[in-house]
């Protein structure tokens, strides 16, 4: 027997669409009905949100930042200096 509803296995594929506000109306209605009663899928949604937030926080994490190779950087600074007509800076 199948019913006109969205179940958890389907919802997990739609979590990002939901967070993006990019869901057609009929689907959104079914999703909201499901979320109203499924605390587990609400937890999954929070997981996805937390994950996106954690990924965003890596922007501030120097450990995530492979630095440009010294020689490459040096060469770029040289090019920048030449283009700028040799104006200020300590590099």
């Amino acid at each position: 027997m199948s019913f006109d509803e969205i179940v958890c296995r389907e919802f997990v594929e739609l979590a990002t669409d939901y967070l993006e506000g990019a869901m057609p109306e009929p689907t959104l209605e079914l999703v909201e009905e499901h979320l109203a009663m499924c605390d587990w899928c609400r937890d999954y949604l929070h997981h996805i949100e937390a994950t996106a937030g954690a990924v965003a926080a890596t922007a501030d994490d120097a450990r995530f930042a492979p630095a440009p190779p010294d020689s490459a950087l040096h060469s770029l600074v040289g090019a920048f200096r030449r283009r700028s007509g040799g104006a200020g800076g300590s590099a």
Binding site: E13, A15, H46, H47, T51, V55, A56, F80, R83, G89
Partner: protein
Amino acid sequence: MLPTRPPAPSSAAHPAPDPDAALLGALRAGDEDAFVTLVTRYHPSFKRVARAYVSTDAVAEEVVQETWLAAIDGLGRFEQRATLRTWLFHILANKAKTRGVRERRSVPFASLGGEGDEPSVPPERFQGDGAAWPGHWATPPRPWEDPELRLQSLEARERLRAAIGALPETQQAVLTLRDVEGLEADEVCDLLDLTPGNQRVILHRARARVRAALEDYFEEELA
């Protein structure tokens, strides 16, 4: 409680202020420190996006280098119709695509990066057809208490880094642009020649994989 549905994407009539506006001023004045800051700041994201188009890390480094040289060259002509960041990513994407084509590597985004049908959660986490609740969680997710705080630990950040690094390159690129760089969906579609639907699928798969890695981490903590 459910997350807030986000507001509709901002229209072109009200563009977000350029987060790099101050840096741009310094760059135009020839400030080399500002330039080094800029290059260092964008290097990881540039690498990840470039790597989605080309065959090796080394080639990705070359693409990034070419991007900066082109940016230096074009800085005087940059009219600020877009943000500095968007402008830079456009240069990068063009360089990367060109290099990818030269390498005769098929454009990765045309086929969703070729990952095929990838369920966000392994099917065994859900009840099967003979069960009382087919399609409902069999092993439901546990609520994460204080995720922001707990994800700051060294171990968590290392696991996160590893999880992102393990993603297919196309997923890394979209995840980087959307969640690390905070670009809007339509900007990313424009940069990477993706339809909105494709972009969302790739983003979702990336987030789902990273979520799974973080869930493993949290579950281990509990054990």
